[in-house]
Subunit: 188 residues, 2 copies
């Protein structure tokens, strides 16, 4: 030992992600990130030569590809719109740990970096999410405008339920929102 990888890539990114989701970009000190990963600061720099900004970028990229794989791909898959939406709900529940973990898109959007290196990626993720959700609702028979509007409202309600859950110190709002979502989207 001493020369081997002590923590695998996936777990490393996941632990870093937890920190950024809890305290945001500025709140995530290298001391916190090191503690969460079990690595020393210098080891983190070996893996991420550009430091904290690179860590946040890779964490955000990972979240984007996770969303693509576990949420968007299933939304585009074959099957009834209703069952595709049920699948999304299940994955969202897991991704946000039943409402206990905040969304990176919210926690990183205030990072005051020169020009904002996360801005573009955050926009892309939001856009992809709403696009895929719109497509399902189109399949379900909604017209283009209504589908887009309802997709946007869904993403906003998800974000809002996470903010509200965190602020109130309970996961109930998030859980109730997820529970009501399939019926909401089926309306009209």
């Amino acid at each position: 030992m001493g020369r081997k990888t002590l923590i695998d890539e996936e777990e490393l990114i996941s632990r870093l992600s937890n920190v950024f989701r809890e305290v945001g970009y500025e709140g995530a000190t290298l001391a916190l990130l090191a503690e969460a990963t079990g690595l020393k600061k210098a080891s983190l720099y070996h893996r991420f030569p550009q430091g904290k900004e690179q860590m946040a970028r890779e964490v955000l990229e990972k979240a984007g590809s996770w969303l693509e794989e576990h949420i968007l791909a299933p939304l585009r898959a074959a099957g009834a719109p209703a069952s595709r939406i049920d699948a999304m709900v299940k994955q969202l529940d897991a991704f946000y740990s039943g409402g206990r973990q905040a969304c990176l898109l919210n926690m990183l959007s205030s990072a005051r970096i020169h020009g904002g290196p996360f801005t573009e990626m955050i926009e892309r993720v939001f856009e992809a999410w709403i696009g895929a959700l719109s497509a399902v609702l189109l399949d379900a028979g909604l017209d283009r405008k209504t589908a887009r509007s309802r997709a946007e409202r869904t993403v906003m309600m998800l974000q809002g339920s996470l903010v509200f859950s965190r602020g109130m110190g309970t996961t109930r709002p998030f859980r109730e929102f997820l529970k009501s979502l399939p019926a909401e989207l089926r309306k009209i």
Copy 2:
């Protein structure tokens, strides 16, 4: 000069508030806060002996009393529920600068302070807001459970629309949400 107050209380809190709303608690450095207010760090400490934490606390208190005065009191006032809601929408639009400024309740809820000195106040503000909104919807003829649920959803959508607006770099989601709100609340 030199011994006089160069900035009045209200304006001071307002400028500090803008910084916390933009970059959150950890992102709000004393350098930023000093720049925004036109005061030097030492002057800020003269006014806020407990430093940044006190600044954030007073800013949050001010936001709470602003909400009470401009949003909750009008919600409780005499008049048709619909017109009281219209009044709230107008005030919300001003308070969030048409969607350009984030909500303190979101931006301060991740402040990683020993035990979280803001937690309690954030909960209280959310609770008061939803209570007042529920009461209006009760007046409008909704049953207790539905009124409460719709009030919560309104607050969540507001938060979500602000998060989404910031993430997408446009105020459109916030503005559209506000515009649709009166009709939404009138349903059923």
